[in-house]
């Protein structure tokens, strides 16, 4: 099977899958604790529980997407969104 025909921008996909997917999944954990509509226990534990699923989904998505910019944009957007949510929560003294 010729992977050059199967994948475009293979190196960038490797980078997105191996680095960006992990960074995104980790940043999403504290970010999710700010908006999940549950008690504090659930707000903290649910993102932790979801981590393996989120990472697996992002990792596979990095390779399945038709264009390499698609997973890149999705993951950067998730990072920025959850990073900002964490930042606002910290500056507003929540938690």
């Amino acid at each position: 099977m010729n992977n050059k025909k199967t994948f475009t921008a293979t190196r960038r996909r490797h980078l997105i899958a191996c680095v960006l997917a992990l960074v995104t999944a980790v940043i999403m954990i504290p970010g999710m604790t700010t908006y999940l509509p549950f008690q504090m226990n659930e707000q903290i534990l649910l993102p932790i529980l979801l981590f393996p699923i989120i990472w697996t989904a992002l990792f596979i998505y990095a390779y399945l997407a038709q264009k390499v910019w698609q997973p890149f944009v999705v993951m950067i957007a998730l990072c920025v969104l959850h990073g900002l949510l964490s930042f606002w929560a910290l500056t507003q003294g929540q938690g």
Partner: protein, 548 residues
């Protein structure tokens, strides 16, 4: 409309009409992840399969003290706690831990008197420890010093060593835990992508062409084992990644916002045992009554340890950690010092919600210790099947590259790869099996904690020696046969060695567990040797590839 646009934006061809390009991508991804992680995944899966039986079965087998008795009368425990509490300075009564000789913690009945704030010699958590023979209750060992050092240097044994190797590959924490955690994640990726690329699940579940060439049989075996074990692999991958990464990445990340990055505060919030307020009113803590009540309430469960806070104070609190019985997950029983039962809760404390229930279940699901020894044996078999998956996948990948009009792998390179797999994976199996006869020899010749220094060198030097052998240009079939023979011989040696040197063996039947384990080792050892000899005699197990 919005959903359609969003799916198009994501750029994934999923759903019922999954395009062939998506399947190709998934197949390649499955291959890449498998090849990169194959050897490490085998190492973790094989050691995990052995670790399932490490506590308590093999730990009892490895420790003659535990073989004689795993039960200490409640009245005796109460007597010892009171007697030795009087012998330690008052600050050491803040926290008393009693580790029962159940095969889950220490090999001796262990009383740990802790002072959280140190004493005149130490400005850190410090402990005075007394360890007793479980049967005779004779004082065997004492310790005074930092608590961390005591727990870090406790006596180990062959099965515990293998269990700890499974957890962090003896690379230390956090590196080892992160590595095994990520292997859990990659197992999850392999299992999920494998399910998608083998869409004809029902047909492939029952397709195993034994009579065909070896590479076809290996391919069928890979699919059959992978599909039948997919649920197990997903569960182990999920729980393994959580157990590996929880304390290193996940908890600090979760604590970042909710607790301003203070992980200790997060753990304190979720801690099961809050500090009691000492009233300074004397009232005997009824440890024996509490233990008897727990035994009668959960007769099938094992009490692993007892924590007594503010011992012999009117506000004393007692916590018992239980494993087994009717509960799937481990549980924590809370009592007042006067023996009044307060509540039964999860080992993480009295936390409500669905997530904590799922986290509680992760431990028994990963260790297979929730429904007796038969489930454990099933977990061992499934764990071994998980270990076979990367090996069979690697064999398929290598075989494929030696075929066609322009093979990308020469026969020499193919042989080198095979020797590397046998040296690394077979070497690990051999190193693990060698530890068992070594344990019998150590029990005869070395006392207590001094045994600890032998397991590492024996394990890693055996493994290294076997791996280095793969550099030599020897026939990989002979190399494989020799590995199998030595593995079998190591296991078969345990029974006669125990007859000669052991306190319990199949002749005196002092411990039925030791007899069963020894016979099991002998049977597995003979099977290994039989298979090894069969390779030589019949030449049926050809690990050869047809040249182009």
């Amino acid at each position: 409309m919005c959903i359609t646009w969003f799916i198009e934006f994501l750029g994934v061809n999923a759903g019922a009409g999954m395009k062939s390009i998506t399947l190709k991508k998934l197949f390649l991804l499955h291959s890449w992840v498998g090849i990169i992680t194959a050897v490490l995944l085998f190492i973790v899966a094989f050691s995990g399969a052995l670790a399932v039986l490490s506590r308590p079965e093999l730990k009892i087998w490895a420790n003659p003290e535990l073989q004689s008795s795993q039960h200490v009368a409640s009245a005796q425990i109460n007597r010892l706690v009171n007697e030795y509490h009087k012998k330690v300075p008052s600050e050491f009564g803040e926290n008393i831990h009693v580790f029962l000789p159940s095969g889950h913690n220490f090999h001796l009945l262990t009383l740990v008197f802790e002072s959280h704030h140190g004493d005149e010699n130490y400005d850190q958590e410090v402990a005075r420890v007394f360890q007793f023979h479980p049967d005779t209750l004779a004082l065997e060992n004492t310790y005074y010093g930092p608590s961390k050092e005591f727990y870090a240097n406790k006596k180990t044994d062959a099965p515990t060593y293998i269990g700890e190797f499974h957890a962090d590959l003896h690379l230390g924490r956090p590196i080892g835990l992160i590595l095994t955690g990520f292997l859990g994640l990659t197992l999850l990726v392999s299992a999920v992508t494998g399910l998608f690329i083998h869409r004809k699940l029902i047909k492939e579940l029952f397709t195993f062409r034994r009579d065909k060439e070896l590479d076809i049989a290996v391919s069928d075996a890979h699919k059959v084992i992978g599909i039948w074990g997919s649920v197990f692999n997903i569960v182990i991958g999920f729980t393994g990644s959580f157990l590996g990464l929880a304390t290193i990445i996940l908890l600090p990340a979760a604590a970042f916002v909710s607790f301003g990055g203070d992980q200790d505060k997060l753990i304190e919030t979720f801690t099961a045992i809050p500090e009691p307020v000492v009233s300074h009113i004397k009232q005997p803590t009824k440890i024996d009554t509490i233990l008897e009540h727990a035994h009668s309430r959960y007769p099938e469960a094992i009490i692993r340890d007892v924590t007594i806070m503010a011992h012999n104070d009117a506000n004393a609190q007692v916590y018992l950690r239980l494993l087994g019985g009717e509960a799937v997950a481990s549980q924590l029983l809370h009592y007042q010092g006067n023996g009044e039962f307060v509540q039964s809760m999860s080992s993480f404390g009295d936390i409500s919600g669905v997530s904590i229930k799922v986290i509680e279940l992760m431990f028994p699901l990963h260790f297979g210790n929730f429904a007796g020894v038969f489930v454990k044996l099933l977990w061992v078999l499934l764990g071994l099947s998980t270990a076979l998956l990367p090996i069979s996948g690697m064999m398929m990948w290598l075989t494929k590259r030696t075929r066609g009009s322009s093979p990308s792998l020469s026969m020499q390179a193919y042989a080198r790869w095979n020797r590397f797999i046998i040296g690394s994976c077979g070497g690990l199996v051999l190193a693990s099996f060698v530890l068992f006869p070594v344990q019998v020899l150590l029990n005869y010749s070395v006392v207590g904690v001094a045994q600890n220094s032998f397991f590492g060198p024996v394990f890693f030097y055996t493994w290294l020696a076997w791996l280095l052998l793969s550099v030599l240009p020897i026939g990989y079939k002979n190399y494989f046969k020799l590995t199998l023979l030595l593995c079998g011989a190591s296991l078969a040696l345990v029974l006669p060695l125990n007859i000669l040197l052991g306190v319990s063996n199949v002749i005196n039947l002092n411990s039925s567990l030791v007899a069963v384990v020894d016979i099991s080792f002998m049977v597995v050892g003979i099977v290994c040797m039989f298979v090894a000899l069969k390779i030589k005699n019949t030449q049926k197990l050809k690990i050869e590839v047809q040249p182009a």
